[in-house]
Amino acid sequence: MNTLLAILWKDLVSEWRSRDRVVAMALFSFLVVIVLHFALPDVDPVEVRRLAPGLLWVAYVFAALLGLNRAFALELENEALSALAMAPADRGFVFLGKAAANFVLLAVVQFATAVVFGLAFALDLVPVAVPLAGVVALGSLGICSVGTLFSAVAVRTRYREVMLPLLILPLLVPVLLGAVSATAALLQGESLPSASIQLLVVTDAVFLIVSFLGFDYVLDE
């Protein structure tokens, strides 16, 4: 447990000092939102409300991929990957710490992006802010768990920036479908569909378990 907190703290502190990853993720995300806005011809508000959930999650996925690609970059540059592997505690907690750090950074960016998104598409997200935050958290949990696991994998391959999306996008389909359908329901003023939430919860649980156990085999130096 201490390892988890230690890694989480270390990552967040180093990010706070340089802030480069968060800023890059946020800027990229805003740009995606703006591009998406221009990509849609002048559509009426009802259409926008229908399309918005998917678009929002497109922006979120792009931001997540950018952040995850850099998740182990610092360790790679400083040849510290082996140090992670030699941590005396269960490597699973190293994973949890890393994933938690990614989750926190992504959450910050997602919040800012939601604000920009609401402005760009003239959507008032405040009334659904709390359930939306819950849905986004569930989605990000899934993204950050397999994302962190395979980020450690991708960082040791050729074409690492391409490798990560290639690996995790097919895996993220259930997360995205659940998240988008739940977000869509919220934006339409409906209550959260239980099927979507169940899908998200089950997927998150499966991904967390697989990633927690798998990380052990991915770090061996």
């Binding site: 994998v153 040791r156 391959t157 097919p170 389909v173 479908l177 089950v202 697989v210």
Partner: protein, 239 residues
């Protein structure tokens, strides 16, 4: 015959090549005869006969991925390289069958519905599986170091397998709310259609087994050759 470092899996594969090959030849003949003789579907006509090859290919594709994940899991657990041979071979043969599913599906769709693609649940899941297969193989190619590649691939294989049932429920969910009203109806197998379908399934599975056995054999030979080269004072001269 040259001495090759052996394990039960490699030996088993080599032993299975001949029997599966013979079985395949016999079954394939019976299957094609049954397909030719099968009655025409009243609704779809002759195009329905693709049903005797398209779903059977899918059975093999899914069996392939299950073996890939299983081989990877055992490799992680036991550390025996032979399990990785199984995993890699199953992935290669499996991606072949998966590609064929994704190719024959649209052929059937075009002939039946006049459109090449439809986000039919099963076809979409198979498409996603195809992407996972491809990512698996690319991961193996782009990772430096055989042992590391095997480990990475094993973890990915397990994750990929876990996501198949998740995708099933996810796409079911999306299908319910989707804007696509058409759904490819699975035509029910009428009288006289049981045999060509069952034979098709058998043929595809035996074909998969045969190709898998040969592929494992090749992998064992490659591994032996690589070991020989590593141990030799000078490299082998290739003709």
């Amino acid at each position: 015959m040259t001495a090759i470092p052996d394990s039960a899996i490699d030996r088993g594969a080599r032993a299975l090549v001949l029997p599966t090959g013979i079985l395949l030849a016999v079954l394939a003949g019976a299957w094609l005869a049954a397909v030719a003789r099968a009655p025409l579907d009243s609704v779809q006509g002759v195009i329905q006969k693709i049903l005797y090859v398209h779903p059977p290919l899918a059975f093999a594709a899914y069996a392939g991925f299950a073996l890939t994940a299983l081989g990877g899991a055992f490799f992680l657990w036991r550390g025996d390289e032979a399990w990785d041979h199984l995993a890699r071979a199953a992935a290669e043969v499996g991606v072949l069958f998966c590609t064929l599913v994704v190719v024959t599906g649209p052929i059937w769709a075009k002939g039946t519905w006049g459109r090449w693609w439809s986000w039919d649940l099963r076809l979409t899941i198979t498409l996603l599986l195809w992407f996972v297969y491809l990512a698996y193989l690319l991961l193996r190619s782009f990772t430096e170091g055989n042992e590391r590649a095997a480990r990475f691939a094993a973890v990915y294989g397990i994750a990929g397998l876990a996501v198949i049932p998740l995708n099933y429920f996810a796409l079911d969910l999306a299908g319910g709310r989707s804007m696509h009203p058409e759904n490819l109806q699975r035509s029910n197998l009428g009288a006289g259609m049981g045999w060509p379908f069952a034979l098709g399934a058998l043929v595809c599975l035996v074909a998969f087994a045969h190709l898998l056995a040969r592929r494992i054999e090749v992998e064992a030979l490659r591994s032996a050759l690589a070991e020989r080269v590593a141990r030799a004072p000078r490299g082998l001269e290739h003709g």
